[in-house]
């Protein structure tokens, strides 16, 4: 009796899928965004924006092939596997992956890549796949710090050296992996505080737009900022800390609430550029002028640096995503038998009113 008039249209499904694909294709082929012409030159000027290593602290540990185990190989004949953690949908990840690819091409190394799309279980199987496909060396941008044991065991069995970039894994350096290359997020926070103190004169109330909750980048950039403010400018009070989830929209919305409930706010520290740009949009919407509220952000994307040039942003602390040269240099040194540092900390740059215009090309 329930079998009324439900005609099965199952055969329609493949048709729908095909249709969707066709739509996507035609959509992109005849698309015309407003500044297609200007897009091309974006990635050209990146040549001299590579990472520099900060002065190693005295007594910092190193690692060599003898200590780690394994055999010497020539990087040119090797296959390098790269496991990216998130979709290349933000400037940082895009620049990071691009830098690895460019450097591999430059050195003529065969590169295998995988992207975990923000799923940790996928990243684990990605790396295992890379090993199975014959990667001799691994560069990993980990999504999590924990849970790497299965991969590390598989790599150790094959004596494959691992370099992790931008996030550390919880394991023993020079045993489970060779080196860790990253920015010092706490230091970025401190330097952002320096910029904020300079811009505000060290007095008044400031707000922090936090990144996503539970993210170590958020925690460390907050820690560094607060430490430095407490130490150098007790007159500067952090009166507002709300999350903007690292997105422009949330940054804008939270800032709108902020400037209404605390009209006297002097500065906003945004823990990434996108939230900072959201804050700029909110200030513009509220009829403020450039410089009324000092904004300091972290990352160094092109848009944010342009904001410095335009006067809306007081300073941008760089978090350099171009890991390619440094990662490959480390692997090269290591496989040739040289000592390499276990923790390689990048010397990040900064943009302020003085250099923003001329260094705009370095931004990613």
């Amino acid at each position: 009796m329930q079998r009324t008039t439900h005609r099965s249209l199952l055969p329609a499904r493949p048709v729908l899928v095909a249709l969707a694909a066709a739509v996507a294709l035609t959509a992109t082929s005849c698309a015309k965004s407003e500044d297609d012409a200007a897009d091309g030159k974006k990635s050209t000027a990146a040549a001299d924006a590579g990472q520099k290593v900060a002065e190693p602290k005295p007594g910092s540990k190193t690692c060599s092939i003898d200590a780690y185990g394994g055999r010497k190989i020539d990087l040119k004949d090797a296959t390098v596997g790269f496991s990216q953690s998130e979709k290349e949908a933000n400037p940082f990840r895009i620049a990071e992956t691009q830098s690895i690819r460019d450097e591999a091409a430059e050195r003529g190394v065969k590169l295998l890549t995988a992207n975990a799309q923000s799923q940790f279980s996928k990243q684990i199987s990605d790396v295992q796949d890379l090993l199975a496909k014959g990667a001799d060396l691994l560069v990993i941008a980990p999504l999590n710090s924990d849970g790497w044991d299965p991969v590390l065991q598989a790599a150790a069995a094959k004596k494959v050296p691992i370099v992790t970039i931008d996030r550390k894994i919880n394991a023993t350096a020079c045993k489970d992996y060779v080196s860790f290359i990253a920015s010092d997020f706490v230091e970025q926070g401190r330097r952002a505080a320096d910029q904020m103190i300079e811009a505000t004169g060290g007095k008044g109330e400031v707000a922090i737009l936090l990144g996503s909750a539970g993210n170590n980048v958020t925690t460390e950039r907050t820690k560094g900022f607060k430490e430095r403010v407490a130490e150098k400018a007790p007159g500067l009070k952090v009166v507002f800390e709300q999350t903007g989830d690292f997105t422009r929209e949330k940054g804008q919305q939270v800032t709108e609430q902020l400037i209404q409930s605390k009209p006297g706010i002097k500065g906003i520290y945004a823990e990434n550029d996108e939230m900072g740009l959201g804050a700029v949009a909110a200030l513009k919407g509220a009829g403020k002028k450039a410089g009324d509220v000092k904004i300091v952000t972290v990352d160094g994307t092109r848009n944010a640096v342009q904001g410095v040039v335009d006067g809306w942003i007081s300073g941008v602390i760089e978090s350099n995503p171009r890991f390619g040269p440094l990662a490959f240099q480390t692997l090269d040194d290591f496989t040739q038998g040289k000592d390499v540092a276990q923790d390689i900390i990048i010397q990040d740059g900064a943009y302020d009113g003085d250099n923003a215009e001329q260094d705009l090309g370095k931004a990613y």
């Binding site: 996507a24 959509a27 698309a31 979709k87 929209e249 939270v254 609430q257 209404q260 996108e274």
Partner: protein, 320 residues
């Protein structure tokens, strides 16, 4: 004596629940307004109300479509993805000008709505499953079309996001007009009544000769179009197309607004005024906590409390 107590308590409770179902959301909004007027500095200002209204406008617009879908005993999880898709398509076609871009956006949204509606009405897939497919696929498509955030400088788009008429921002005007339109559709059109009948009893609607499939498909198309409007407005406000994060969790915000506003998930009833109030309630709650710089996790807890209260109040309504 004990018996007398037993007799009266449930009655009063039932009456209180009934009251809460009907007016709880408005009482909540009123309460938050009063509390904020007292404890929040600068709350009673035109700018503040404008900010809250502008921020909640996209949520309201999405929730309107969601209310219709829920009225048919369905749910549309793909609205957030459609917002993202609208954002990337806007960016891709803005070179032709705003109006052509919007037309293409409408085409895409209608396509997603058609696919949702076809899966639900023709193939008979559960709405939650059908729209889940497009929730994932829609955002995927959005990111294929535009892999990362892109700044937009179209002046027309900018004025859509920031401009106003007689001091009332376009966003608020558009949300208000759409709310009135949807409320009118539900109350006064054949389509609206057929929608409710289908939501209340689909077999009965079918045997009464109603165009069940057509109504369902149209409902999902309308939901997608409204989500696309919200996506375009949010993009205009941001002056950037951000398919990676725009509309994230919007489906949950919209469902919350609808449920808190007194529309039962069991279908057959749609409360548009309540839905608008539900969205406003959540907005005010969030704003209150942000303005007083309370930890963000509190916002989530507070929202959860409101949802539980709404579901508790609606408990009796699903029963017949």
């Amino acid at each position: 004596m004990a018996e007398a107590a037993l007799k009266t308590v449930p009655l009063d409770k039932a009456r209180a629940l009934q009251w809460l179902q009907k007016y709880g959301v408005y009482a909540g909004v009123a309460l938050l307004l009063v509390v904020n007027a007292v404890i929040t500095p600068h709350f009673l200002s035109a700018e503040n109300f404008r900010t809250q209204a502008v921020q909640v406008a996209p949520v309201i617009i999405v929730a309107l479509g969601m209310a219709l879908v829920i009225g048919t005993e369905g749910v549309d999880l793909s609205v957030g993805a459609v917002m993202a898709l609208a954002a990337s398509v806007t960016a891709l076609y803005l070179g032709y000008g705003l109006v052509p871009a919007l037309l293409v956006v409408a085409l895409f949204a209608a396509g997603v709505g058609l696919a949702n509606g076809a899966l639900v009405a023709l193939v008979g897939v559960q709405p939650i499953v059908a729209t889940l497919a497009l929730m994932v696929g829609g955002r995927g498509l959005a990111l294929v079309l535009l892999p990362q955030l892109k700044d937009l400088r179209n002046p027309q788009l900018a004025s859509l996001g920031a401009g106003d008429v007689l001091g009332i921002p376009y966003l608020i005007l558009i949300a208000a007009v759409l709310a009135l339109l949807v409320a009118f559709t539900v109350r006064r059109t054949t389509f609206g009544r057929q929608l409710l009948a289908i939501g209340d009893s689909r077999p009965a609607a079918q045997l009464a000769g109603l165009p069940v499939r057509r109504v369902l498909i149209v409902v999902y198309v309308v939901s997608a179009l409204l989500a696309a409007v919200a996506g375009v407005l949010a993009t205009a406000r941001l002056q950037a197309s951000d398919p990676t994060s725009l509309g994230n969790l919007m489906e949950l915000s919209a469902i919350t607004a609808v449920v808190v506003g007194g529309t039962p998930l069991t279908g057959g009833r749609v409360n548009i005024a309540g839905t608008v109030a539900g969205a406003v309630l959540i907005q005010l709650l969030t704003a209150t906590l942000i303005k007083h710089d309370l930890p963000p996790s509190w916002t989530q807890i507070a929202q959860a409390v409101v949802i539980v209260a709404a579901v508790y109040a609606a408990r009796g309504r699903g029963k017949r």
